[in-house]
């Protein structure tokens, strides 16, 4: 009895239909499904009666850090249909792939991603051949929107072509060899038809492996080996297990014969995890649609949900209805004429593209043509296959939202609770934080730091009942103490179950939650996320990698300057939260410096009051290139070159020019400070320019000396009116000097003028400045009268 191989695309309704029909038709004895073999003994849990989508959440903590991945199921997943329909006809259903924590999955988050995407060349060729934009459209064209006749043959041809002779990765090969062993084991039992449902990319290889191996493989030989097996099989074990089971070989024999799915021996052993677990979590269509790049699979889950339940035509109608409802909900006018136009276009496109009824992209194209009467900034995501980009047309945003849908899964009440619940409760207990009331923590104490991190993680996860009353507020805040108010809350457990989707421990969950806050966040939010990550002591590497990316897009100099200052102080000093010297922080520093230099060069505008935020941003850049040299790819000379251009540019506001000038000076470049001061001596701009200079090069101004003298000359030469114009900005500029340094300046002035006296007395007049001003005014009035009368 041979095996029937069904190659499917994960989450494809057409494939699900084929799987169901084949199972009902063949009534196989064994249904082998691509899925984690380690949950075979818990398949009952999957079939408790959940509301889909759900996912098997697998979490593993290895030497290389924690790794989590999902095996998502929705109503129309071929794997899910194989599972349920197989059970219905009384077949033995088993998952046959390596567990999700196996090294072969080390860089995968989504088990059911499209494998063929990683081998893009064949896909591209096919798209060209059928004149479609991308693989999703191609798939709809060939399978979802195509007649059912010959579907199986078409699928086989498609996947054979894709696989061709392309060399699969070692990870894929390891998985295929392992799956082939299950198929051989099922065939060897010889007790009925065997149906194998796997990703279509693997099917051709699997078929070949089974055909090759079946001759050399006999059940008695394997039994004789008693788990240690013949040499040939052991070799395969090693390949498949990636070294994992090799160390536990003696005990593997027992696991092999006794534990796997409670079935009799003969089945391949299942590599056992040392620190991993799988749990069911509720999933959502939105998350299913959120995988990108190599993790992505079929897009538009809500649309395919309709298609699975109600067919292509109804799915198209439902899509239009949903988009229109959403748009009208946002007060966008969608007229009947628009709908007629959309329908006409969609039908026309369907006919041109050879579809009986409008397929997904036909409908979307029709809607876009009818509803968008503007030029688009970006191609719609279904044309270029990828996530929504900022600046996407609002109508298209709603279309994508309608395609993703809001459907959220729900687990049956008897489902074992996800690990986070127990983990958090245990952690709280161990940290002595399971009570109520006020808790004071000293962050310098390692025990308290751990407790603080736990509380912050729960706060970030939105678990109610943990509120921080006081504590450090930002990257530069030296406050080492925190005070928390703990309040027991009925909603804690439900919130934890929700949060479990983010991770299995408070730390992972908080990290993932923080990462989820990043897309579309502005810099203020980014900065908050960053600081939260530091407080939580979690996932900072991943968060920061994303952050480094986002920083490159920020358009606000001041806000980004604040972020850089925070990040830089975390990178340089923060031993408290353990972030000092972190390479990921370094990457953010680097990206922020590059971006800030870029933004600084773009600031134009006439004389304007000095903007302290802007100056702080330049200070942050200076500190970064000075102190974080090893992580900043922009070298000092390049940075100085940029800012010396800024300082020489007349269109740049004076404060920024001053700061740019101070930038080079403070980094030790030779400058003609006295000449520069003279050049900027106009009363309206002098103060602002100096504010910039002092913000950056306070020290140099004091030690070099010359500037004070020149300033004295310049101010002395001002007329009374000019001085009044310059005064406010000058005052602001000198505020950059602390009192002691102001005194030093006063002393220099006294020396320059050859006067002896108390410098301090110059700074602190015993008289009210208003009185002095009034006296000045009186004096001026007298002078005017004298002049009028010719007595001056």
């Amino acid at each position: 009895m041979g095996a029937t191989f069904l190659g499917v695309r994960h989450h494809s309704p057409a494939c699900a239909r084929l799987v169901r029909d084949t199972i009902l038709d063949q009534r196989p004895a064994h249904v082998l499904v691509e899925g984690p073999a380690d949950v075979n003994d818990r398949l009952g849990e999957l079939l408790l009666g959940h509301e889909l989508p759900i996912a098997l959440y697998t979490y593993h903590r290895g030497d290389g850090g924690a790794h989590a991945s999902w095996t998502p199921f929705c109503d129309y997943s071929p794997e899910w249909v194989a599972l349920t329909a197989g059970r219905e006809v009384g077949a033995r259903v088993r998952f046959i792939d390596l567990p999700a924590w196996h090294p072969a999955f080390a860089d995968r988050d989504n088990r059911y991603a499209d494998a063929e995407i990683r081998y893009a060349e064949a896909v591209e060729r096919l798209c060209r051949e059928f004149a479609v934009d991308n693989v999703d459209t191609l798939w709809d064209h060939l399978f979802e929107a195509a007649p059912e006749d010959g579907l199986a043959e078409r699928l086989t041809a498609y996947f054979d072509l894709l696989r061709g002779d392309s060399a699969a990765s070692p990870d894929d090969r390891a998985r295929e060899e392992y799956m082939a062993r299950w198929v051989r084991a099922a065939l060897a039992r010889d007790d009925g038809p065997v149906l194998v449902v796997t990703g279509g990319f693997h099917t051709p290889a699997l078929r070949a492996l089974v055909a090759d191996g079946v001759r050399g493989w006999t059940r008695p030989a394997d039994q004789a080996g008693g788990g240690r097996a013949t040499t040939g099989t052991t070799d395969r074990d090693r390949t498949a297990g990636g070294g994992e089971p090799a160390g536990s070989e003696p005990s593997a024999g027992r696991a092999h014969s006794g534990e796997v799915g409670g079935s009799a021996d003969g089945w391949p052993e299942v590599p056992r995890s040392t620190g991993g677990a799988s749990y069911l979590v509720p999933y959502s269509h939105r998350r299913l649609d959120a995988f990108t790049g190599y993790e992505s699979g079929m897009p538009s889950p809500e649309y395919y949900h309709w298609l699975w339940h109600r067919g292509v035509g109804a799915a198209a109608d439902e899509l239009v209805r949903s988009v229109v409802t959403r748009l009208r909900g946002r007060k966008v006018v969608v007229s009947t004429a628009d709908l007629i136009a959309a329908r006409t276009l969609a039908d026309g496109l369907a006919r041109l593209r050879g579809h009986d009824r409008p397929a997904r992209v036909d409908v979307l194209d029709g809607l876009t043509g009818a509803l968008v009467s503007e030029d688009l900034d970006r191609p719609p995501p279904w044309a270029r296959r990828g996530p929504l980009e900022p600046g996407t047309h609002p109508a298209i945003v709603e279309m994508v939202a309608a395609l993703s849908g809001d459907r959220v899964g729900r687990l049956h009440a008897d489902t074992p609770a996800p690990p986070l619940v127990a983990a958090v409760q245990a952690e709280l207990l161990a940290a002595g934080l399971d009570g109520a009331g006020l808790v004071g923590l000293d962050l310098a104490d390692p025990v308290d730091l751990d407790r603080s991190r736990l509380l912050h993680r729960l706060r970030v996860l939105g678990v109610p009942g943990f509120a921080r009353e006081t504590g450090p507020r930002g990257g530069g805040d030296p406050e080492p103490r925190e005070r928390w108010l703990l309040r027991p809350d009925d909603h804690r457990v439900p919130a934890l179950i929700e949060a479990a989707a983010h991770g299995a421990t408070a730390s992972d969950a908080a990290g993932a939650k923080l990462a989820a806050r990043l897309p579309g966040a502005d810099v203020a939010e980014l900065s908050a996320v960053l600081f939260d990550a530091a407080l939580c002591g979690v996932g900072a590497e991943r968060v920061l990698a994303l952050l480094a990316d986002e920083v490159g897009r920020v358009g606000d100099l001041v806000a980004l300057g604040r972020v850089l200052a925070d990040v830089l102080s975390l990178w340089r000093h923060d031993r408290l939260l353990g972030t000092a010297g972190s390479p990921a922080l370094g990457a953010v520093v680097d990206a922020a410096v590059t971006r800030l230099l870029w933004l600084a060069e773009g600031v134009h505008g006439g004389p304007a009051p000095a903007e302290p935020g802007r100056l702080r941003a330049i200070v942050a850049v200076r500190d970064a290139v000075r102190h974080a040299g090893p992580v900043v790819t922009t070298g000092v000379p390049e940075a100085v070159a940029v800012l010396s251009r800024v300082s020489a540019d007349r269109r740049v506001p004076p404060d920024l020019r001053g700061a740019a000038f101070g930038f080079g000076w403070s980094l030790g470049c030779p400058v003609d400070a006295a000449g520069a001061v003279r050049g900027m001596a106009a009363p309206a701009t002098m103060g602002d320019w100096l504010a910039g200079l002092f913000a950056l090069a306070r020290d140099e101004v004091l030690t070099a000396g010359g500037v004070v003298g020149v300033l004295d000359e310049v101010v002395d030469a001002l007329t009374e009116d000019e001085f009044l114009v310059a005064l406010p900005a000058l005052r602001q500029a000198f505020a950059f000097f602390p009192p002691a340094e102001r005194e030093a300046i006063a002393r220099m002035l006294l020396e320059l003028r050859g006067v002896t006296g108390s410098a301090r007395a110059l700074l602190r007049t015993p008289v009210d400045p208003v009185l002095v001003a009034e006296a000045g005014a009186v004096e001026a009035a007298v002078d005017r009268v004298l002049a009028r009368e010719g007595l001056a």
Partner: protein, 359 residues
């Protein structure tokens, strides 16, 4: 039309006459009334079909071509919008050639375009001699397109004065032009099957925002995007630049690595890398071709070799940064900060040549 050989640029229906003829001969699918080809064949003509030896003429998304063709088969006009240099005019020419077998019914929009140039004017000598008669009428492209059932192209429609744009309104909805000077049946020209309008507009000069809502409603908008795929764009630039250089008598084909640098730079400055702002100048593929052409000319006529990455810098300053100091600054920053991050001798060469930028 006796000798097409010495034409600088014959229209699409002449350039690809044999392909059109073959497609027409093999065309068994249903044709919309008034069309020279079926939609399937028209699509094949534009996106190409290797098995029938039909060349690929437009490298953008195939779905765009589908949408354009279907739009033309409905009662709405087609408006192609996009940055300059994204092959909008080429696409409209190809579509017109495929649908009507003729792409020369074209109105070129501009500030000086008048209604006469859109609908009709008079031969004044005849008008004075005979009065208003069909003989003295000089039909403009719209009128001819309607009477003959052909696709009319309206280039740069948004550059026309608004009142000229609005004369398209009745034409597109009523599908009739009234000629009040003529009496009887000659006074009304009704559109025949096959008539439709392909307008183009670019998003830089003057966007579509000023277009009246009424006119917008009569068009389906299709945005033409720059080429998404790097390799495709590189191939196109190589092919086109090679052709231009050959025609300019340059003996050395462009260097692939230099073109790579050039195309990548264009894509980055178009808005590709995160820490770089987009240039305000258009960084289109067409512009890349002209820079590649200039680079090749410099290399050949100044030094007798293919152009180098240093030539790219010099040519970029003139074409990409044009007269905008901001763009020049952006370009300088790009050369200073982004280029050193890339590996390869050609990128190093580009980086070293950064001081060739003026200013």
């Amino acid at each position: 039309m006796s000798d097409q050989k010495d034409l600088q640029r014959p229209p699409a229906e002449v350039r690809f006459a044999d392909e059109l003829a073959r497609l027409r001969a093999d065309d068994t699918a249903h044709r919309p009334p008034g069309w020279a080809l079926s939609l399937e064949a028209a699509r094949r003509f534009i996106v190409g079909d290797e098995s029938r030896d039909v060349s690929r003429k437009f490298v953008g998304d195939p779905s765009l071509v589908d949408r354009c063709l279907v739009t033309l088969a409905t009662s709405r006009g087609l408006l192609l919008v996009g940055e300059p240099g994204t092959a909008k005019s080429l696409l409209s020419e190809l579509i017109a050639a495929a649908v009507s077998g003729e792409s020369t019914l074209t109105v070129q929009g501009g500030a000086a375009t008048t209604e006469d140039q859109v609908k009709y004017s008079w031969n004044y000598a005849l008008l004075v001699a005979e009065g208003p008669t069909p003989r003295s009428l000089v039909p403009a492209p719209m009128l001819r397109g309607m009477a003959e059932g052909k696709v009319v192209r309206f280039e740069e429609i948004t550059r026309c004065p608004l009142e000229v744009q609005d004369c398209m309104l009745s034409l597109l909805s009523e599908r009739v032009v009234a000629i009040p000077e003529l009496t009887g049946p000659d006074g009304m020209v009704f559109a025949r099957d096959g008539f439709n309008v392909i307008a183009t507009a670019n998003t830089r000069d003057r966007g579509v925002n000023e277009m009246s809502a009424a006119l917008k409603r009569r068009f389906n908008f299709e945005t033409v995007f720059p080429i998404a795929d790097f390799a495709t764009e590189l191939d196109l630039v190589e092919r086109e630049a090679g052709r231009l250089l050959e025609r300019s008598g340059v003996g050395a084909p462009p260097r692939r690595d230099v073109l790579e640098v050039l195309v990548r730079t264009f894509r980055d400055l178009r808005g590709g890398v995160s820490s770089t702002d987009r240039l305000s100048t258009v960084m289109s593929t067409a512009e890349a071709v002209s820079v590649a052409h200039a680079v090749g000319l410099r290399g050949w006529y100044l030094r007798g070799e293919a152009g180098s990455a240093a030539d790219v810098v010099e040519c970029l300053a003139g074409t990409a940064a044009k007269d905008s100091p901001e763009d020049l600054a952006r370009l300088r920053r790009y050369l200073e900060q982004q280029v050193p991050r890339r590996t390869g001798a050609q990128w190093r060469e580009l980086h070293l040549a950064r001081h060739l930028l003026p200013g």
